[in-house]
């Protein structure tokens, strides 16, 4: 029987689950995150192998959610130099690449940045022919000086040809090894934000490579030779090859894994999910089983980006949040003891009062090893304040005043009550504490399209059909089994002041990994057409 590993490296814990082919949890564990990340993973995986008695050879897939890319950007560590190429001249010169970036990053990256002739109009016409000669000379100029290339063309979500041609030119000069990030693969309309995402993506390519290799090594050390996949921001998986090209898409996979896990564990496709960790609580929304996506520009390490990110409301509140009394005032969080809760929290014999201790003192949950003595009034005030914050966050994420079901996951969720205002029912599924690792393990692969289409020459149905078939093709490219693919989301946004009833259409599809069922693996276009016929 084949088994799968789901691994989620969070801020506090590394969670690992082992699932059998019926998606049942065979073993699970939680270990503290180690500074090198990999040691913690190795320890945790060894533990689930040990406790389950499963032969490592039976593990066919390993799915990983990691915070390493996020950390690298926030800490500015291990980032590599990037050749930044914008295809858009003579347009777009009024705002140069890196505009609005934090000073330290801007200084570092400004050296290798160009705006080259090329790019397209909203309807696919060329703004200018691609300046191949200049691209050639830039390629020679950066050879040996940069670790990656980021190419962003104006309206590349409408017409990808210039970005792709530019990539070929760089490839010829710089060789096969250098990662080349293309913006149309990453973000949507909004040049600067998409370019920023592309540059960040290129900047973390070495981090991603090292991280992926060390994960692979950690598994190999334990005789696990599984296909490795990385969890990405929309709650789906990408192959290692794809993750090496687009590592930035892993940045918020932790909360999305939790939400996918919550959907799987409860069978609920539409609900609010509250994921309580050691330092923070993320509130997200499941729509048709997938995390709702954010529509606004998202700040990553001080840089404004527009690649797909989950719509989250994050609170500086978790099991390890410090409870501080200042005169009559009581605060809970955002400061936290994090993973040191097991040494420092009162419930574990330490001397620091945390949110966990308040809940234990009020007898609302049993956590830890020690009795906790906190003045009742202080505990009561702190608890009410914390719960109120969570309730407000839940309400914020709802789409109507109608009561919605709520799913509680994450290790710290035992601290929350069974009732919330505006909530129809509270679910605490079995294995809630490792929902994130389960979410990674059961994840599917996706395909998507986000482009501007003209609705005047074709019917709305024809245009939607076209968009869907592009998304299906993408999903198959990413490794999805065509027979299992489903449309997850369709969004249409009409665009002002453009002719031809221009509409921005976003379609996301998802399906099971084709390699789960090797015998039904399909690549033929005929099968894809069949899959389309359902829509």
């Amino acid at each position: 029987m084949s088994h799968r590993l789901g691994i989620d490296v969070g801020g506090t814990n590394t969670d690992v689950v082992l699932l059998n082919s019926d998606n049942e949890v065979v073993a699970k564990t939680k270990v503290a995150v180690t500074t090198d990340i990999v040691t913690g993973i190795r320890t945790a995986v060894a533990q689930v192998l040990d406790s389950s008695g499963i032969n490592p050879a039976q593990i066919t897939h390993a799915m990983l959610g990691t915070t390493q890319v996020t950390n690298a950007i926030i800490e500015r560590s291990e980032l590599n130099d990037v050749a930044i190429i914008r295809l858009g001249a003579p347009a777009t010169r009024a705002v140069k690449p890196l505009a609005g970036w934090p000073e330290d990053l801007r200084e570092r990256y400004a050296k290798y940045s160009w705006i080259v002739g090329g790019g397209h109009e909203f309807d696919g016409r060329e703004i200018a022919p691609l300046d191949e000669e200049e691209l050639q000379s830039i390629a020679h100029c950066v050879k040996g000086n940069v670790g990656a290339v980021a190419v962003t063309g104006v309206f590349s979500p409408v017409n990808t040809s210039h970005e792709e041609r530019a990539a070929r030119i760089f490839r010829e000069v710089l060789g096969e090894d250098i990662p080349i990030s293309l913006s149309y693969q990453l973000g949507s309309v909004g040049l600067l934000e998409r370019e920023n995402a592309t540059v960040l993506n290129a900047a973390v390519s070495n981090v991603a490579k090292r991280a992926t290799l060390s994960f692979q090594q950690a598994l190999v050390d334990l005789d696990v030779y599984a296909d490795l996949y990385l969890a990405q921001n929309d709650g789906t998986l990408m192959s290692v090859d794809y993750a090496l090209l687009y590592p930035i898409l892993t940045i918020a996979c932790g909360p999305t894994n939790s939400m996918r896990g919550a959907a799987h564990l409860t069978g609920m496709a539409n609900a609010v999910v509250v994921d309580v960790g050691g330092t923070s609580t993320d509130v997200g929304v499941l729509v048709n089983g997938f995390p709702r996506e954010s529509f606004v520009a998202v700040d990553v390490g001080g840089v404004r980006t527009n690649f797909r990110m989950p719509d989250l409301y994050s609170l500086g509140l978790g099991g390890g949040s410090l409870v501080i009394e200042k005169g009559d005032d009581v605060t809970v969080g955002p400061k936290s003891v994090g993973y040191r809760i097991v040494q420092e929290g009162r419930a574990f014999g330490g001397s620091t009062t945390t949110f966990t201790d308040v809940v234990v003192a009020l007898n609302k949950a049993k956590v830890g090893t020690h009795e906790v003595d906190v003045p009742h009034e202080l505990a009561d005030t702190a608890y009410k304040m914390a719960i109120q914050k969570v309730a407000e966050a839940v309400d914020r994420m709802k789409t109507s005043a109608k009561p919605v079901p709520l799913v509680l996951v994450g290790g710290g969720s035992v601290l929350l009550p069974n009732e919330f205002e505006g909530v129809s029912e509270v679910h605490r599924p079995e294995n809630f504490d490792v929902a994130n690792a389960i979410g990674a393990a059961i994840a599917q692969v996706s395909g998507r399209v986000d482009r501007i289409f003209a609705m005047d020459k074709k019917s709305r149905d024809e245009v939607l059909e076209e968009a869907k078939s592009i998304a299906f093709a993408e999903a198959i490219r990413a490794g999805a089994d065509a027979s299992t693919m489903e449309v997850v989301e369709v969004e249409e946004v009409p665009i002002a002041y453009l002719p031809g009833n221009a509409v921005r259409i976003k379609v996301t599809v998802a399906g099971t990994l084709a390699s789960y069922h090797a015998e039904s693996r399909v690549n033929s276009p005929d099968v894809r057409a069949d899959a389309n016929a359902d829509y």
Binding site: A91, L192, S400, A401, Y497, N501
Partner: protein, 360 residues
């Protein structure tokens, strides 16, 4: 006293102009970055009152036209507004003494600063709407009988169109077509006139007002204090506080129209509010009764940050405060309401003035 606009003022300007832009007026982020880059290259820009200019001084307004979606993707080269300006100067055979903004929107409030920085001329502290509107004739300059033409429409590729039209309605139609052919966005120089003609046909003090609004919103004060300060400063009122429960959008004749529904919170618990927009917010209806109508300003603010939300950004679940700000006096004249009142935009209701004293 010489008043200089520095790079740090631009961010306030763009933020404040977005409040006056009533949900439209373009992306303030791109406009602000352009103006900041221009000031970094050429130094701060002088802001003058129109009264400081000689009667015969030529003033040429600068603006952009087109789809906000195009502007955030195909940003300008930065040369187009200068080209438009200088080509119009050449056609008129004289140099302009200053430029001025046509509308108080996030993007168009900043474009004249790009021109002024490059050419070393001042920007007039005024605009031609006191808010944002979607069409070229919807300006106080038009009301004052000034023709938008001769007008230059310029793209980043080096194309320019000189328009000479019989009236401003034709200008709207022809320039819009040129803009679409140019790729959906263009830069304009239009509505040129001597200072003595401009003087009575502008909304005065708009730039300094927008900067002040931006500063009020950027202050690290309690949100209710910030909101109160804003309302006091603009002479506006809070219309509704609630949560957006539905956003419906449709494209009609190239414009993004839509309807937003919101359910009341706190003091408005139990009430519902509907907003109709066409790029800009046009009408606010509370429990079936219109409480604010175009041309008065209706602006949606995020409840938590007290920052303006554009109509493109409106989403389910947002907690918002809807505020109303009285428009410039001129718009309340009957002949002007024909140009910019609810009926012009296709709503079968009369203009309902906000019942607060007009402060402009």
């Amino acid at each position: 006293m010489k008043r200089l606009i520095h790079a740090e003022d631009i961010e306030y300007l763009a933020l404040g102009a977005t409040v006056l832009g009533t949900g439209g007026g373009g992306d303030p982020y791109i406009g602000a970055l352009m103006a900041v880059q221009a000031i970094e290259n050429h130094g701060p820009i002088e802001l003058v009152s129109i009264d400081e200019l000689d009667d015969d001084a030529l003033v040429i307004p600068s603006a952009m036209m087109g789809a906000p979606t195009v502007m955030i993707e195909k940003m300008p080269s930065g040369d187009e507004p200068i080209q438009a300006f200088q080509q119009l100067e050449k056609f008129l055979g004289r140099k302009a003494a200053a430029t001025v903004t046509i509308e108080a929107g996030g993007l168009n409030s900043t474009i004249p600063f790009v021109v002024a920085a490059e050419l070393g001329i001042p920007v007039v502290d005024a605009d031609g709407m006191g808010r944002a509107f979607p069409e070229i004739p919807m300006t106080t300059l038009h009301v004052g009988g000034i023709l938008a033409t001769p007008m230059m429409v310029v793209d980043e590729k080096g194309n320019s169109v000189l328009l000479s039209t019989k009236d401003n309605a034709w200008t709207e139609a022809l320039s819009r077509n040129a803009t679409i052919t140019m790729g959906g966005s263009s830069m304009l120089a239009l509505y040129s006139a001597e200072a003595k003609r401009m003087r009575n046909n502008l909304v005065h003090g708009t730039i300094s007002k927008a900067i002040q609004i931006g500063k009020l919103l950027a202050k690290h004060e309690d949100t209710s204090v910030r909101l109160a300060n804003l309302l006091k400063f603009v002479g506006g009122e809070e219309l509704f506080r609630g949560k957006i429960t539905d956003v419906m959008r449709r494209t009609v004749g190239g414009f993004a129209r839509g309807t937003v529904s919101a359910e009341g919170l706190s003091k408005d618990e139990g009430a519902v509010c509907r907003l109709e927009f066409q790029n800009e917010n046009l009408i606010a209806i509370r429990n079936g009764t219109p409480i604010a109508t175009v041309p008065d300003l209706i602006t949606v603010l995020d409840q938590e940050t007290i920052r303006p939300i554009t109509t493109e950004e409106l989403r389910y679940g947002q907690r918002v405060v809807v505020i109303g700000i009285p428009c410039a006096d001129v718009w309340r004249r009957p002949e002007c309401l024909e140009l910019v009142g609810p009926r012009y935009f296709g709503y079968d209701i009369n203009f309902t003035p906000l019942d607060v004293p007009v402060s402009l």
